[in-house]
C-alpha cells in the first residue's frame, strides 16, 4: 500500500519567460540595402528641388551682396549691405508693398467670395452638365496670360473698346493710375477665378454628405446647414485659397502688368514682383533685384507662417 502525499493546492505555472536569444548579426551592406529604397525613391525629387529651388535661393543670397550688371564680361563686386541700404532709401519699395496689398484685397472677391458662392450654388449640378460647367469656368486659366492680355488691351481701348461701350464711359483704363490698377485686378481675377472655383468645388466634394443629411434630419434649414456645417468644414480650403492669394497675387498679375501696363502709368501698377524684376532686368542691377527678392522672401515667409499657424488653430479637419 502506497502512502498518499498530503493533499494540497499548487498554482498552475504561467508559461516560462525566456530571454531573447542574441540577435543574428546582419552584414552592414545588407542593412544599407534594406534601408536604402525609400531614400532612393526620394532622391530624384530632392535633386530637382536642390537644383531648381535651393541653388537659386543661395545664388540670390550671394547676389544680394554683390554689385553686378548681369554682363558676363564685367566682374561682380562685393558691396556688403549697400544693396539693402539703397533699397530702403528708395521710395518705390514701400509704395510697391502698398500697391501689392491693394492688389491682394482686390483679388480676394475673385479667389474667395465668388468661388464659394458659385461652388455652393453649383453643388446640385451633376454628371455631364457639371463637367461642361467646370470646363467653362476653368477655361480662362488655360488662356495664355499674354494672349489674354492682348484681348483685354483691345477691349479696354478708350476709343471704341468693348468695356467703355458697355459701361457707357470714356475712361482711359490703362493710362490713368486708378483705373489701371482696377483693370489689372479684374483681369487677374478673371484669370484665377476658375481655378479658385474648382478648388472650392473639390473642397465641397470632400465634405461627407452625411453631415448635411444629418443636419437636415436635425431640423436645419439649407441656410443653417451652410452656415453651421458646410462653411466651417470648408475652412481648410478657404484658408488655402487665402494663403495662395496672399503669396501669389503679385506673381499672378506679373504677366499682365508686364504686357499691358509695364508697371505704369507712373508706377501705379508696380507691385513687389514687378519691382524686383524691373530692378534686375530693367535697370540691370542684379544685386538690388536680389536684395529686394530676399526681403520679399522673408516677408512672405513670415506672413505664410503666421497664416498657417492661424489656420491650424481656426480650421477644422474632418477626421
Amino acid at each position: 500500500m502506497t502512502v498518499m502525499a498530503p493533499e494540497t493546492f499548487v498554482e498552475v505555472a504561467a508559461p516560462e519567460r525566456v530571454a531573447a536569444p542574441a540577435a543574428v548579426a546582419v552584414p552592414l551592406l545588407r542593412r544599407i540595402a534594406r534601408a536604402a529604397p525609400p531614400y532612393l525613391f526620394l532622391a530624384p525629387g530632392l535633386a530637382l528641388l536642390g537644383v531648381w529651388v535651393y541653388r537659386p535661393l543661395v545664388t540670390s543670397i550671394q547676389l544680394s551682396f554683390l554689385s553686378w550688371n548681369l554682363l558676363p564680361t564685367s566682374p561682380a563686386k562685393f558691396v556688403g549691405f549697400s544693396n539693402y541700404e539703397r533699397l530702403f532709401a528708395l521710395p518705390d519699395f514701400t509704395a510697391a508693398l502698398g500697391r501689392t496689398a491693394v492688389l491682394i484685397l482686390g483679388l480676394l472677391p475673385f479667389t474667395l467670395v465668388v468661388p464659394t458662392v458659385v461652388g455652393l450654388l453649383a453643388r446640385r449640378v451633376r454628371g455631364r452638365a457639371a463637367t461642361v460647367y467646370q470646363a467653362m469656368v476653368f477655361a480662362p486659366l488655360l488662356v495664355a496670360p499674354v494672349a489674354g492680355a492682348a484681348v483685354w488691351q483691345w477691349m479696354l481701348d478708350p476709343r471704341g473698346g468693348l468695356v467703355n461701350r458697355v459701361l457707357g464711359t470714356t475712361t482711359n483704363w490703362l493710362q490713368e493710375p486708378g483705373p489701371a490698377q482696377v483693370a489689372i485686378i479684374v483681369i487677374t481675377g478673371w484669370h484665377v477665378l476658375g481655378f479658385a472655383t474648382l478648388v472650392v468645388a473639390a473642397g465641397l466634394a470632400g465634405i461627407d454628405s452625411e453631415y448635411s443629411a444629418s443636419a437636415s434630419l436635425d431640423g436645419a434649414t439649407r441656410w443653417q446647414t451652410t452656415r453651421w456645417i458646410t462653411l466651417p468644414l470648408l475652412s481648410p480650403t478657404l484658408s488655402f485659397l487665402l494663403l495662395m492669394t496672399l503669396l501669389l497675387a503679385a506673381q499672378w498679375s506679373f504677366p499682365l502688368v508686364n504686357t499691358i501696363t509695364h508697371g505704369g502709368p507712373s508706377g501705379a501698377t508696380t507691385n513687389v514682383y514687378y519691382l524686383l524684376w524691373d530692378y534686375a532686368f530693367g535697370s540691370f542691377d542684379a544685386g538690388l533685384g536680389a536684395a529686394a527678392g530676399m526681403i520679399f522672401f522673408v516677408l512672405f515667409g513670415m506672413v505664410a507662417l503666421v497664416l498657417v499657424r492661424l489656420t491650424e488653430r481656426l480650421t477644422f479637419h474632418d477626421s
Partner: protein
C-alpha cells in the same frame, strides 16, 4: 408617439436595362412603440429603405405615412424623425455639447443647455461635453450620436447599423442599453442591421429583406422557429441550417421526404406527387440518433469545431452538409460515420423551386379517424 406605415415603397437606381430595384414594393406597418429591425445582407435595400423613411432618398414609388400623415414628399427636417448614422456623422468642428444641442439650436429652442446636460447625464457624457468628436473613442461617439437623436424627443428613431463600428464587447453592452432605452422611452425604433444577433436580441419584430423585397416579417421567435423561406432559414442561425434536397413520397397513407442520405417521416398524408423539397433542422435540434424511427440523416463527420462550451460537428450528408451543435464533448471524430435525428416537429420543409416554407394544410382525414 408615431406609427410608420409604408405602402408599396420602391426605389429604382439607374435607367433602362441597367435599372436596379434597390427597394421593390415594400409595405410595412410599424406600430407605435415598436422596435422593428430591418435585417438583411449588404445590398438588400435595408439602408435605402431607412433613408427613404428619413427623407434622404426620394422613393420612385409608394407612400410613407407618419401617424396617418403622408410624408412621402416632406423634407427630412419636417418629419420629426431622428436618425443615428452608421458613421455617426458627428459634426467634427463642434464640441460634444454643441453636437447634442444642434437639433435644438436649429429650432431656436431656449432650453438648449438644460436639455443637453440632461441627455449627457443620462448617457454618461458629462465629462466629455467640451471635447470634439476626434478626441472620442468609438463607443463615446456612438453615445453622442444617440444623444443628438434623444435630445428633442422625436416621433421615431431611425438607426442605421449604429453598432457596426464598435468592438465585440462594447457591442454586447450597447445592445442591452438600447433595449433598455427603448423600454424606457416607449418610442418607435426602426433599426437597420445585417447582424442577426442584434436583430434577435433587440427587436420586437424583424423584417427580413433580400434583393429589395421582404422575405418575412415576424417576431424574433417566429422568424427563427418558422422561417418563411430558405433565405430566412439560412440567414438567421449560426451555424446555418443545413438544407438538403429530398422528394416527398407517400406509402400506406404516410408521407416521407427521401433523399440522398436523408429519410424522414412527415406524418400521414396523400401528397404522393413526388414533390421536390428541401429539408433541414436547426443544428441545436439535431442529435446523434439511435433508434430506427424518426427523421434520419446519414453521413460522415468532416470537421468538429470546439466553441468552448459547445461543439459543432459538420457532417457531409449526400451531396450537402448539415451542422450539429451540442454540449462538449459530442463524442464525434473526423471520419466517423454518423446517424443524426431530431424531433419530427423540428423539421423545416421548403419548396425546392420557390424556396418558400411548406406547411401542412389541416388534415381532415385523420380527424375523421380520431372521431
Amino acid at each position: 408617439m408615431s406609427r410608420i406605415q409604408i405602402e408599396g415603397l420602391t426605389r429604382r437606381f439607374g435607367s433602362g436595362n441597367h435599372a436596379v430595384n434597390a427597394v421593390d414594393g415594400i409595405s410595412l406597418d410599424v406600430a407605435d412603440g415598436e422596435f422593428l429591425v430591418l435585417l438583411g445582407p449588404s445590398g438588400c435595400g435595408k439602408s435605402t429603405l431607412l433613408r427613404m423613411i428619413a427623407g434622404l432618398t426620394p422613393p420612385t414609388g409608394g407612400r410613407i405615412l407618419l401617424d396617418g400623415r403622408d410624408i412621402t414628399a416632406a423634407e427630412p427636417r419636417e418629419r420629426n424623425l431622428a436618425m443615428v448614422f452608421q458613421s455617426y456623422a458627428l459634426y467634427p468642428h463642434l464640441t460634444v455639447a454643441k453636437n447634442i444641442g444642434f437639433p435644438l439650436r436649429t429650432r431656436r429652442r431656449k432650453d438648449v443647455d438644460a436639455k443637453v446636460t440632461e441627455v449627457a447625464k443620462a448617457l454618461g457624457l458629462e465629462q466629455l461635453l467640451d471635447r470634439r468628436p476626434r478626441a472620442l473613442s468609438g463607443g463615446q461617439r456612438q453615445r453622442v450620436a444617440l444623444g443628438r437623436a434623444l435630445v428633442r424627443d422625436p416621433g421615431a428613431f431611425l438607426l442605421d447599423e449604429p453598432l457596426s463600428n464598435l468592438d465585440a464587447t462594447l457591442r454586447t453592452a450597447t445592445r442591452a442599453e438600447l433595449t433598455d432605452l427603448h423600454r424606457r422611452l416607449r418610442s418607435t425604433f426602426v433599426y437597420v442591421t445585417h447582424d442577426q444577433i442584434e436583430a434577435m436580441t433587440m427587436a420586437t419584430r424583424i423584417a427580413v429583406l433580400n434583393g429589395g423585397r421582404l422575405e418575412q416579417v415576424g417576431t424574433p421567435e417566429e422568424v427563427y422557429d418558422a422561417p418563411a423561406s430558405t433565405f430566412v432559414a439560412g440567414f438567421i442561425g449560426s451555424p446555418a441550417i443545413g438544407l438538403l434536397p429530398a422528394e416527398v413520397r407517400g406509402a400506406d397513407g404516410e408521407l416521407r421526404a427521401v433523399g440522398d442520405g436523408v429519410d424522414m417521416p412527415l406524418g400521414p398524408g396523400h401528397d404522393a406527387s413526388g414533390r421536390e423539397v428541401l429539408v433541414g433542422a436547426r443544428p441545436e435540434h439535431l442529435r446523434i440518433g439511435t433508434g430506427a424511427v424518426g427523421p434520419e440523416w446519414r453521413g460522415t463527420v468532416r470537421l468538429v469545431e470546439n466553441l468552448g462550451g459547445e461543439e459543432v460537428a459538420h457532417v457531409t450528408v449526400g451531396g450537402g452538409r448539415v451542422a450539429l451543435r451540442g454540449p462538449r464533448p459530442l463524442g464525434l471524430a473526423v471520419g466517423d460515420a454518423v446517424r443524426l435525428t431530431c424531433d419530427p416537429d423540428r423539421i423545416h420543409l421548403f419548396c425546392a423551386t420557390s424556396g418558400r416554407r411548406l406547411v401542412r394544410t389541416p388534415e381532415p382525414r385523420r380527424a375523421a379517424v380520431a372521431v
